[in-house]
Amino acid sequence: MRALIFLFSLVLSLSTFAQNDRYTAAMEKAVGELQAAEQTRDFSAPANTFERITAAAPEGEWLPAYYQSYCHIMQAVGAMQQGKPDQITAFLEKAQGALDKAKEISPENPEILALQGYIYTGHIWADPMGNGPMYSPQSVAAYQTAIEAGPDHPRAYHLMGMHLFYMPAMYGGGPERAVSYLEKAAERFESYEPASPMHPAWGSYFNQQLLEQATAKLEKEEK
């Protein structure tokens, strides 16, 4: 009998909160897809899934749009590695559209601000000589705003470090400047606790790799 009452109340609550639960379930599934994609480097599946969730997300939820944007940026990274500059721009434009939605929901969010810098950095890959002069200062400024908005979040430091690592020294980049940011990112990846398992948690593995590469380069230079 008790079990029956429990079941009954559960069904009731299920119908009342169905939408929210469906949202949670969809997000959990999508974050799972994203984790798989981090291994396969094919982000088309989670990109589509997050796009669906973004289109029907309950009010005030910035995460689906954020992740959709992130997936498109990762697709742009793929396009860069395959040497397809036109596709980089197409993916980044879609990423920007999704991020604009996320910004509207959560304006001063450090994670979203950091991703904005990532999109600007991405435009440089499409045409380093042509886009660098305009986008490089914009991305650096975006990372700095993100750091000010959330000094304990690791990803803005990580992305700034990455940006500086790939930027030639005379433009104000290089391993030495990158290391200070990558180290700060590493400390924060250790200490920072995401608000929920669904909140952004990416970047620590790549940060570690970059940090090793940058330190190795520095040591080589010293010799």
């Binding site: 079990a3 599946a45 289109a55 660098g132 400024a141 005379m170």
Partner: protein, 715 residues
């Protein structure tokens, strides 16, 4: 465990009871290409699927109420399809249309060359202008590598499609610049007065331009100054011919910049062989200030002022007496300041307003003296109304007041002349799309020339038609008026505006970093100033002429890794019967064939950009008064190969560019005909002096340092 089991069973049961149906089908881009990984989902739910490698999809759904299926795919327009109620299973096929991205959109292209960072469908980026070999920071020299221009290296100004240099007007932020070139004496090349680093966008039109620009017969060069700079920066430059320093301070919503520069060709001319016998080689001092303020209502206020003082003297033979050197000197002071206000009032209205003032004074001495001054004031206001269907209506008005004075003195004469001119205009122009394939711009401009007591109405029309992926045809037509040159107006004001009608047909094809473009044009001149018996006091508007030709342009950024090149070729057929021409003939500034090849290569390992520019101009006519026929002599073919190197490095931790360039690397023999005296010598012959470049070659080395954050290419 039990409740969970029950729950699962319950859920499965309800789903089964509802009965699932399948939406299946295929998504294609174009006729047969499958869209791989396209996103399909039911609107308002999280349910969806992606297409497979064949573009196919299967989407189980619960057929209850009617629902909407959304199809989304990167680079293509999103589709929504209503699925009616009560259908069981459906097979659907979708064909997606490419997204009307800026790159694929049809654009007004006839006569237009644009360099911009903000717009994507442009042929050039601002950086392309700076890195063009042979330009040495001179916008005009870089533009002279584009089709429709001439390589008149002894002059330096822009000559467009059989038009004289004064037929090109320069506009900065919509405001006309009265003296866009540095001051010089005839046969010594001038430079553009403004640094290319001041501008975020350059639109160079060789014909058929918008009704927003007037009083120009042949061409409009429209420059847009930069908005708020990204960051504070201090720039230092040290060059073989001078030095400069500037600082920009950026606050949250405003920025202030100031700079000074000093040029002295003295040490350089003593080191490098010169064709000219300098007494005091060129020296120049410049000062600039700039201010930017972003207002709380989102409006942007820009103000800037420039001052330049330059001069030189040299020993130069008079054409009347080529054996004797006489001292020729020039002194020029130039001031120009402007302020513009730009505001997006709401989603529908935009307002642009501007004020400018300028003063230029020039003194030339050589057995005669000319004192000339030009003062200018102007105001301009443009309102733009944007409509929801992508159409825009532009309404504008402008007023330019100029004040000209000249005092000429020699042993025999003393002539003072002065006049004031008020030029008032209004224009209306609409621009938008007729369907997906046609872009249209139609405008009408009304000009009032107060001094000439003339009113003129100029219609302008531009059309573009998209023909397939990446290709488009364009057409432009318009009437263009311009006041006669000050050289004639100072003698008589009993003149009317000169007129040119433009017809342009253009085809452009671009795909993945390659652009090819061909343009045919015809230009008809009327009411050109003629000087009966060579007498400027009798000037009248009875002259006429034509120019027609073909311009070709090819740009390729992808075929050579790290290499980028463009090739411009212009064919020009022009004759005019004007000024003191006794017959209709090709003027001395017009070459039939012009070719430019601009190549840039980025060498990653050396962090160096190498640039090469090759220019060729076919012989141009000039007149020898000793022969009975007019303009029957020909200059030799002009050729030049310029080379530049930009090495990007660090100096004390600051971003530094080391720039070196040399013109005429291969040592082509460059000469531009002869200049003859006005009076015959005692034997009845007109003597002449040869027109040659100031030096066989020009070498330049400069170091540019930027101190500050994110400070690339800011000097």
């Amino acid at each position: 465990m039990k409740p969970t089991f029950f729950l699962a069973a319950f859920l499965i049961l309800t789903t089964a009871l509802h009965g699932e149906s399948i939406l299946a089908g295929r998504v294609l881009t174009g006729k047969t290409e499958p869209a791989v990984g396209a996103n399909l989902y039911i609107k308002g739910t999280f349910d969806g699927t992606s297409t497979d490698a064949d573009g196919q999809f299967h989407l189980p759904y619960l057929p209850g109420d009617s629902l909407t299926l959304v199809v989304s795919y990167i680079g293509f327009q999103q589709l929504e399809q209503l699925i009616p109620t009560g259908k069981d299973s459906l097979w659907l096929e979708f064909r997606l249309k490419p997204q009307a991205s800026e790159l694929q959109q049809v654009v007004i292209s006839a006569g237009a060359f644009e360099a911009s960072d903000e717009k994507k469908a442009v042929l050039l980026k601002p950086i392309d202008i700076v890195t063009t070999a042979g330009s040495n920071g001179n916008i005009v020299a870089a533009l002279n590598t584009l089709p429709g221009t001439q390589s008149n290296a002894e002059d330096g100004r822009i000559f467009v499609r059989g038009g004289d240099a004064h037929e090109t007007q320069t506009f900065i932020d919509g405001l006309r610049v009265p003296n866009p070139y540095t001051s010089n004496v005839p046969d010594l090349p001038v430079r553009g007065r403004f640094s290319p680093f001041l501008f975020k966008g350059t639109a160079f039109s060789t014909g058929g331009y918008s009704a927003a620009y007037g009083d120009a017969l042949s061409s409009a060069l429209v420059l847009q100054t930069k908005d708020l700079p990204e960051a504070s920066v201090t720039s230092l430059s040290m060059m073989t011919i001078g030095a400069g320093v500037s600082h920009t301070e950026r606050w949250e919503n405003s920025a202030l910049s100031a700079g000074v520069d000093y040029t002295n060709l003295g040490p350089y001319t003593r080191l490098v062989p010169q064709n000219i016998d300098w007494e005091d080689p060129v020296t120049a001092q410049g000062a600039q200030v700039g201010f930017r303020q972003k207002m709380s209502n989102g409006a942007l206020l820009k103000a800037q002022a420039n001052a330049q003082w330059s001069g030189f003297s040299m020993r130069h033979p008079l054409p009347e007496n080529p054996t004797e050197q006489s001292l020729l000197s020039l002194q020029n002071d130039n001031y120009y300041g402007s302020a513009t206000y730009h505001q997006l009032i709401n989603e529908e209205w935009q307002l642009d307003a501007g004020l400018a003032a300028g003063y230029d004074s020039e003194r030339i001495d050589q057995r005669f003296s000319v004192d000339r001054s030009n003062a200018m004031m102007q105001g301009r206001a443009v309102a733009i109304r944007y409509f929801e269907n992508d159409w825009a209506l532009k309404l504008g008005t402008e007023w330019i007041h100029s004040d000209f004075e000249e005092h000429y003195q020699d042993t025999e004469s003393d002539i003072q002349s002065a006049f004031q001119e008020d030029y008032i205009s209004a224009f209306a122009e609409t621009e938008g799309y007729l369907g997906e394939k046609v872009a249209l711009r139609a405008g009408l401009r009304a000009d009032r020339y107060n001094l000439l007591d003339a009113n003129r109405l100029s219609p302008r029309l531009s059309l573009a038609y998209k023909a397939g992926q990446g290709g488009q045809f364009a057409f432009a037509y318009g009437h263009f008026y311009q006041a006669p040159q000050q050289d004639w107006l100072r003698f008589t004001q009993n003149l009317s505006p000169e007129r040119a009608d433009h017809f342009l047909v253009n085809y452009q094809y671009r795909k993945g970093g390659r652009t090819i473009r061909a343009e045919l044009y015809h230009k008809e001149y009327q009411n050109l100033v003629q000087l009966p018996a060579g007498t400027p006091w009798l000037a009248e508007n009875s002259g006429e002429g034509y120019a027609r030709g073909l311009d070709l342009f090819y740009r390729d950024r992808v075929s050579i890794p790290n290499g980028d090149f463009w090739v411009s070729y212009s064919y020009l057929d022009t004759e005019r019967h004007y000024e003191d021409f006794p017959v209709a003939t090709t003027p001395d500034f017009a070459a039939k064939h012009n070719l430019s090849v601009v190549y840039k290569h980025w060498i990653q390992e050396l962090q160096t950009n190498v640039g090469l520019t090759y220019t060729l101009g076919s012989p141009r006519p000039y007149d020898d008064p000793n022969t009975p026929r007019f303009n029957d002599l020909r200059t030799p073919t002009f050729q030049d190969l310029s080379l530049n190197l930009s090495y990007l490095t660090e100096l004390f931790g600051h971003f530094t560019i080391v720039h070196a360039s040399v013109s005429n690397v291969l040592g082509f023999e460059q000469s531009f005909g002869e200049r003859f005296g006005n009076q015959p010598d005692p034997n009845g012959r007109f003597t002449s002096t040869a027109i040659r470049p100031p030096a066989p070659r020009f070498f330049f080395v400069g170091v540019f340092v930027s101190i500050g954050e994110g400070s690339t290419f800011s000097n």
